[in-house]
Symmetry: C2
Subunit: 364 residues, 2 copies
């Protein structure tokens, strides 16, 4: 405990900036769509979701037919349904190491063994992936190719092709999680895994990062047989998803607001990413980090992983709130890793926080 | 196929009357609460749900503390979470026979054996319940004491006491499902099982019948330790429930609208229940039915259960849409049973439909 504690900076959760939350716009759009659509959003309905929104997603996001798209109560719950449909105590799922902590929890809860494959700066280590597939015969490979959580890594075009081909040849279904895809601050869009190999890939995504988390609307795109299975499981779980929120998203798309919104968020978050990368370069050059191009996170690797515990403990004393790293690693071996979510901090807080990180490293 | 088919009457799903859906009111209330609450409904938050609504439910519905109340995305999903927490391949759950078909699906999906205990006109057959508990050592007893789905049965005060005591002595957790409780058209409220024995009872309910299904807000009341376990499972499944809908329910309660709404629905549905019971008396006196006091259903027993298949087949030819009865019975032995949901039909349609039911019986 010292006086630095008074000015706490939180690099903890990956959440949108408070000032970006569009309450007024959502109030207005929900009023409009409820007045117009009336009963169709209020009654029990199709567990696939609100058809006009499924059509919009198919047209604008996935280039699929609406039969390939299901909309549910957030993408994490859709991942849980996929886990329950594909996995059990005898199955293995491969994930990137590190990966989204809540995905690991979901796969383990479904009974599966979760095997990690190391993530390099350009995507997973391919030789390790091939070996893991050969050894474990996994049912699923879970990957976040765009601006990964927790590292910020973007899988290159070449690696995407190899991964898509490999999974098809080996009969492994890929779950492509893409919540951050529309938030690219520099560089060019790369093809989704699903566009490279529709038959082997289930893509999930959400409007939590683009509109707001409270809206709880996520979607899934896959082969129609897969989508039907998910729809049947969803119906047995919640009958109908929250259609009021789905109508609201549809209204925001129809008004052209969502496109504007993506641009605004990119303008808001790009300087925050730049501040993160520049501050790391300036204050903490002895560390390694991912040259993130979009999304919410920069992954940082400490210069000496044996000092991880001491670093986290001292960081807390210095008024920094961090996510303990072990949850992102299926084997709990989070040594040396620090996740830095930047969207909810001002550039000043980011600089101050990274200065403190570097200082913490000096102190231990 | 004959000309009767042109005028189809649906006694199929238990859904609210289309003309009762309050789209205008919901549009207005959601506008108001979003303008006022702004960011607290739009960000990730507590998996227990929106605190002001939890407090309202605790005060007005359950006489609990808000620590005993969790609000989620509909009561069926909460039942699914309970099933996943309590049941597995080695566990047994006891249900009323017949019972809500989707509950059976959820328990079976969790791997449990589902054992039915016969339902009489005053509640479950007690001797059979005792024997089943002794024989199977079940983990849960799932019951719908008020205006049961699919029969309309209300468990008497005396039986509630016996059931609550029995479950405590035998260490069986009761899941009390009460979605219809506020829709009583005659008679007096009876105590909930949870009020008789808070330690052994988890109560679930929903706003689907009172406001509308599309809102997808359900709640659970139980001991705080139980609620915490459900909250943890819920967080791992969907992080935060749909808070926009929860804020909307809170607003509708705060404006005093929900109380008015219950009265209006009772005025709308009471004549429909009366038309159902009177038409059965007039056109189909040789059948047996439950003297329903509230909710959505009257359960009908055909005069001769061996004719069930012939009856359902002929009913379809005669332009009647019915739910096949087997799904309501854990052993699929639905012989002789017909569920009659009445809220979504006019009194004229009800009379016409029951006339056709009786005519169908004459024809086979």
């Amino acid at each position: 405990m010292n006086d630095k504690k008074t000015k706490s900076i939180s690099f903890n959760r990956g959440i949108p900036a408070e000032e970006s939350l569009p309450a007024g716009k959502i109030a207005q759009a929900s009023f409009r769509i409820l007045k117009e659509e009336r009963n169709s959003l209020l009654q029990y309905s199709d567990s696939m979701g609100y058809l006009p929104l499924r059509e919009d997603i198919a047209n604008s996001f996935t280039k699929d037919s609406s039969n390939n798209v299901l909309v549910g109560n957030g993408s994490l719950h859709l991942l849980d349904i996929i886990a329950n449909l594909y996995l059990n105590e005898t199955e293995v799922v491969i994930v990137e190491k590190p990966t989204y902590d809540r995905a690991i929890t979901i796969f383990e809860r479904a009974g599966a063994e979760v095997v990690g494959v190391s993530l390099k700066d350009d995507g997973v280590r391919l030789r390790e992936l091939k070996e893991a597939i050969g050894q474990h015969r996994p049912k699923l490979f879970y990957t976040i190719p765009d601006f990964q959580n927790p590292t910020g890594t973007t899988t290159t075009r070449e690696k995407r092709k190899v991964v898509a081909d490999l999974s098809e040849k080996q009969g492994v279904t890929i779950v492509e999680d893409s919540p951050y895809r529309r938030l690219r601050y520099r560089g060019e869009d790369l093809p989704t895994l699903r566009s490279l190999n529709p038959e082997s890939v289930i893509r999930i995504s959400s409007f939590s990062k683009l509109i707001c988390p409270g809206i709880r609307v996520g979607w899934l795109a896959g082969e129609s047989k897969t989508v039907e299975k998910v729809a049947s499981y969803a119906e047995d779980t919640y009958i109908t998803p929250n259609l009021i929120s789905q109508g609201l998203v549809y209204q925001l798309i129809r008004e052209g607001w969502l496109e504007e919104r993506a641009k605004e968020l990119i303008s808001l978050y790009r300087p925050r990413l730049e501040a993160t990368l520049e501050s790391l370069e300036r204050y903490f050059p002895e560390a390694n980090w991912v040259d993130t191009q979009g999304g919410f996170f920069v992954g940082l690797w400490l210069p000496d992983s044996t000092q991880t515990k001491a670093f986290y403990s001292r960081a807390e004393d210095n008024g920094l709130t961090l996510s303990g790293p072990n949850g992102f690693f299926p084997d709990q071996e989070g040594e040396g890793f620090v996740r830095l979510p930047f969207p909810a901090l001002s550039t000043g807080e980011i600089e101050e926080g990274i200065k403190k990180l570097a200082q913490t490293w000096q102190e231990i």
